[in-house]
Every structure is written in structure tokens, then in C-alpha cells.
């Protein structure tokens, strides 16, 4: 999909590999952006996996597609479209999930699904209005790491700091509300407001991540490191740190593979992420039930 400048290829010499990898400014930008995105997606994804809100996370991440095409249509910066659409999607899903729809547990998933499909339908419409079917639509869906600018890296860093700041403030009540909602409610945690705020943070994070991985593959960075880490350790702090480290390792490996071998970065990211999870899950299954291959993630300990 993407053609490259002449490169000697991957070798066993790690130092020369690293030199090759960082020889071009676009690649340095991509690695920096990837690192920032991995940290952010790791932390947000950790809470997302804990709260069993993967479907909402995926639906928000595809909102990046109508966002990008809408911005394209109006001639705005793509980033504006990403943040606006993902933020709006987060508000709709968050509000409808909290708006007393306890009538049926299927309701929330129906709303999320409808929002997602509607967003994608809008994206397709914007794309058609733009100029028939746009040649580069795959990049919006599946990611492109070649065109990342210094400005984008800076914006990502700012969003990342804001997101981490959000979790520094809301992290404890959010964890409490995620683990034991009734008790959290009884002890005065504003559960609905905390949930909505988390949904917004999730929206902004996927908007940022989608710029690197594309709208459809954000999900690999959100879910895989967190799910792997939660399989490995039940301790809150340790698994959060592990999530971020795994996320960074997966991103670097994905970018390096895409740089040396000529296939899309999204494919390498998901392939590495999936392999890491699979290994962790098999190991966990082997430890928990030596006879039965049916591992499930262990519950995270309640903070003291």
C-alpha cells in the first residue's frame, strides 16, 4: 500500500536497525506519535477493559471516520473532525447509557450499534459527496504513519497530558465505580457523572489514536495491551504500568515491521498485539487449569 525509500532491511544488528529506523524525520515523528498514543490508549483502554465497555470503545473509534471525511468535505483540519465527532459520539452513547435505560440490558448495546452504523453511514455519505469514492479512504480506516507532522506530535502530546491529568483526578473514584457500582454510589461517588466523563476521555483518546492507526484499528491498541496485562497480574498499579509498557512495545514493533516490510502498519500492529494476548492467555490457562483450556481474566483487587 505504501512504497518506501531504499532500505537495507532488517538485520540481527539492533543498533544498525535502530539507526535505519530513525534515519528519516517522518519515521522519528511516527515513533514519537506512536509512543504518546500507546501511553494514552493503554491507560484509557485499561479502564475500558475493566468496565467491559469495549463495544462503546470500538464504536467511538469508528466515529473518527465520519469526522475525518466531514473535515475533508469542509476543508477543515482533519484533527478538528476527529475530536468533534468522537466527542459527540461519546456524549450520545454515554447519555443514553445513563439515561435510565435500565429497562433492558440489550438497550445499551442497541444504541451503541445504531450510533456506530449511523456514524459510518454519514462517513460514507461525506466520502461520496467529496468526489465519488476517495482513493485514500483506506488510510482513514486503516491508518497511515508516513505523513505525521511535528504539529500533530505536539497536539498528541498535549491531549495525552490532559488525559493523564484527567485520570490523576478521576482515577480513584472511577476505579471504585467500575469495580463496585452500588457501593460506590452509596459512598457518595457521582457514578453517572464519572461514567460520562470517562466516556468523553475515551472519545478524545480514540480520536487521537485514530490519526495513527486509522479508525478501524484503534481498537487493537485500546484492548490488547490492557487485556494482556489484566491476565498477567491482578494488581492495579502493576497491571496499569504493564499495559503502558506492552502498548509501547507493540507500537514500536508494528511501526518497525511496517517500515522494513511493505505491508500496512495496521496489519502489523494487530498481528503483534494479538500474538502477545494469545501467549498470555494460553500461559494463564496453563497455570489456572492445567487440564482445561478456558482461561478468563482474573478480577482486579479492590484498592485498600
Amino acid at each position: 500500500m505504501t512504497s518506501h525509500l531504499p532500505i537495507a532491511g532488517l538485520s540481527v544488528d539492533l543498533i544498525s536497525d535502530f539507526r535505519q529506523l530513525t534515519a528519516f524525520p517522518f519515521m522519528v515523528n511516527a515513533l514519537e506519535a506512536g509512543t504518546v498514543v500507546a501511553i494514552m490508549a493503554g491507560v484509557v483502554g485499561w479502564f475500558m477493559v475493566l468496565r467491559r465497555e469495549s463495544f462503546a470503545g470500538h464504536s467511538l473509534s469508528v466515529m473518527a471516520f465520519p469526522g475525518a471525511t466531514f473535515a475533508l468535505l469542509l476543508g477543515l483540519s482533519a484533527a478538528v473532525g476527529y475530536y468533534t465527532f468522537c466527542g459527540a459520539g461519546a456524549l450520545v452513547i454515554g447519555a443514553s447509557a445513563g439515561a435510565g435505560t435500565r429497562r433492558h440490558r440489550g438497550e445499551e448495546s442497541a444504541v451503541t450499534g445504531a450510533v456506530q452504523a449511523f456514524g459510518l453511514a454519514c462517513g460514507f455519505l461525506f466520502l461520496s459527496l467529496y468526489q465519488g469514492v476517495l482513493a485514500g479512504y483506506e488510510n482513514l480506516l486503516f491508518g497511515d504513519f508516513l505523513g505525521i507532522t511535528r504539529g500533530q506530535v505536539l497536539t498528541l502530546a498535549i491531549v495525552c497530558v490532559l488525559t493523564l491529568g484527567f485520570f490523576a483526578v478521576v482515577g480513584r473514584p472511577l476505579l471504585f465505580a467500575s469495580l463496585d457500582e452500588p457501593v460506590a454510589r452509596a459512598s457518595g461517588v457521582p457514578v453517572r457523572r464519572v461514567s460520562l466523563a470517562f466516556m468523553l476521555a475515551l472519545g478524545f483518546t480514540v480520536a487521537a489514536t485514530a490519526q495513527i492507526t486509522g479508525a478501524l484499528l484503534v481498537f487493537a491498541l485500546l484492548i490488547a495491551p490492557a487485556a494482556t496485562a489484566q491476565l498477567i497480574t491482578p494488581r492495579v498499579g502493576a497491571s496499569l504500568v504493564l499495559t503502558v509498557l506492552l502498548g509501547m512495545a507493540i507500537t514500536w514493533a508494528g511501526l518497525a515491521l511496517a517500515y522494513f516490510y511493505n505491508y500496512p502498519v495496521g496489519f502489523y500492529l494487530t498481528a503483534v498485539a494479538f500474538s502477545v494476548y494469545l501467549i498470555a492467555r494460553l500461559a494463564r490457562a496453563a497455570i489456572d487449569h492445567p487440564t482445561l483450556l478456558h482461561g478468563r481474566s482474573r478480577a482486579v483487587e479492590t484498592p485498600a
Partner: protein
């Protein structure tokens, strides 16, 4: 409008697919398995592109991939209800593979490759041939027949799995069968409205129907009716407005109906009326 053959084909295939999606979608929403439907719709994309890269009929890839992964997801989850993380990880990986096949197919065939990707993702209902439309209708009819045959025990197993199991209903087998039907529906609908958009036809009519009536059989019928109606309306609108893609129009109508149903029956509205009433009473006293 019906003078043209492609429109007749689109209506035939569209109606049949909407009927299947509406019926299967009702159970999917009832069992809160929309996420599995989402995953299977992405699997459909990978299946189609794998078939294209291998040079075989796309439909073979579609049905093989979706039904296999549906059964796999069912086998991984307990009581045939795959959990959130399993679905998420599986479909992220499958989607990544889809990108790989897209790249493989693109490098193999030179020009015109973007078109297949776009058609798989967003559908091309006006591009169906007469044979394709008839095949789609027949497969949809089979899906509908199987689903209606198991509707009663499946409903029981969905609403109260413990009691159903105690009464001898094969809860696990029914769950697996529903997932297989969901996979087949996803493969079907991909040809018409695309892998990315078919979720709307599964979730929105069923969500609306569930809000409008509490009786499960009425809701099942209503869900199918809304899906068919949305498809007809969407096809008509996009025929009149050439710039508007048919799949976008269908999903927009379905979502619109859901929104109306949501607003008409929202607890939020009742809460607000109650709030207004107390406010009024407050000023009166």
C-alpha cells in the same frame, strides 16, 4: 422506478436481507450480543478480501469466514455468550488480517482494487446482478425459516436460560445456532449494505421494536417490519437523490426510526415531565 432491472434486483435482495436482519437482530439485541454482530460484520470484510486475494467467489469467503468465526466465538464464551474482551481481541486481529488481504489483493491486481474494498465495506446494492439477487433472497429465506422454527425455544433460552435449561431446552446449542445465523446474515448483508453498515440494520430496528412493545412476538415482527420499511425508504430516497449512497440512506432511516421510538418512550421524558409537574406544583403552593 421499477422499469429498471437493477432497481428490481436491489428491491428483491434488499427486502429479503432486511427481513433476515430484522429477525436475527431482534434476538441479538434481546441477548445483548450486538458487539458479536459488530465483530462478525468485520469478519465479513476479511472473508471477502481473502476470497478476492485467492481469486475465488467472494460469497464463499464471506459465508465461510463469518460462520466459522461465529462458532469459534460461541465456543470460546461460556454458555455460548462470548465475553467482551474475547470478541474485541478476536475481531481486532481479524480486521488486521483484512487489511493484509487488501494490501495483498491491491499489489496483485493493479488498478481498480480500491473499488472492491469500498464495495465490501459500504455495499453496492444497486450493483447486484439478477442471479446474485435471487441467491441472496433464497439464502435469506433459509435464514428466516430456521430462525422462525427455533424462535420459541430460543426466546425461552434468551429470557431465562437457567429455567430453560432445567426444562430441557438445549440452551448452548441454540446460542451457537443463533451465532451461526448471525454470521450468515452478516455475510448476506455485506453484499447489499456493506460490512461496516450492516450493524445498523441489526441493531436499530430491533432496538426500536423493543422500545415500542413488550410482547416478544410483536417485537420480533415489528423489528422485521421496521428493517424492511427502512430498506424500502432508503432505496427510494437514494434513487431520487443520486448523490446519496443507498446504504447510507437505509441506515439513516433505520436510525431515525430508532431515535423517534427512543424519544417517544424515553424514561428521560417522563422524568422531565415529572420534574416540570413538581416545579409547577411548587409555584402553586
Amino acid at each position: 422506478m421499477f422499469a429498471q432491472e437493477f432497481v428490481r434486483n436491489a428491491w428483491l435482495a434488499g427486502t429479503a436481507i432486511a427481513l433476515a436482519s430484522g429477525l436475527v437482530g431482534y434476538f441479538v439485541v434481546l441477548r445483548a450480543q450486538v458487539f458479536a454482530g459488530d465483530a462478525l460484520s468485520h469478519v465479513a470484510f476479511t472473508g471477502a478480501l481473502a476470497a478476492a486475494a485467492a481469486g475465488i467467489d467472494i460469497r464463499v469467503g464471506l459465508f465461510a469466514a463469518t460462520i466459522t468465526i461465529a462458532l469459534l466465538l460461541g465456543a470460546l464464551g461460556d454458555r455460548s455468550r462470548p465475553d467482551d474482551v474475547t470478541i474485541g481481541i478476536t475481531f481486532a486481529a481479524i480486521l488486521g488480517l483484512g487489511v493484509y488481504f487488501l494490501a495483498l489483493f491491491s499489489s496483485g491486481s493493479g488498478g481498480g482494487n480500491g473499488l472492491l474494498g469500498a464495495r465490501t465495506l459500504f455495499g453496492s446494492i444497486f450493483g447486484l446482478s439478477a442471479t446474485a439477487a435471487v441467491i441472496a433472497a433464497v439464502i435469506a429465506a433459509v435464514i428466516v425459516a430456521v430462525l422462525l422454527a427455533i424462535a420459541r425455544p430460543l426466546l425461552f433460552a434468551s429470557v431465562d436460560p437457567a429455567v430453560a435449561a432445567a426444562r430441557g431446552v438445549p440452551v448452548r446449542a441454540l446460542g451457537l445456532l443463533l451465532l451461526a445465523l448471525l454470521g450468515a446474515t452478516a455475510a448476506e448483508a455485506t453484499q447489499a449494505i456493506g460490512a461496516l453498515l450492516l450493524l445498523g440494520l441489526l441493531a436499530a430496528p430491533a432496538g426500536a421494536a423493543q422500545r415500542l412493545t413488550a410482547n416478544p412476538y410483536h417485537a420480533l415482527g415489528l423489528s422485521a417490519a421496521i428493517a424492511v420499511l427502512s430498506t424500502w425508504a432508503g432505496l427510494t430516497i437514494s434513487y431520487e437523490i443520486p448523490n446519496l449512497p443507498p446504504s447510507s440512506a437505509i441506515i439513516a432511516v433505520a436510525t431515525g426510526i430508532y431515535l423517534l421510538a427512543f424519544l417517544a418512550t424515553s424514561d428521560l421524558r417522563h422524568a422531565r415531565t415529572r420534574g416540570l409537574l413538581t416545579a409547577v406544583r411548587g409555584t402553586e403552593t
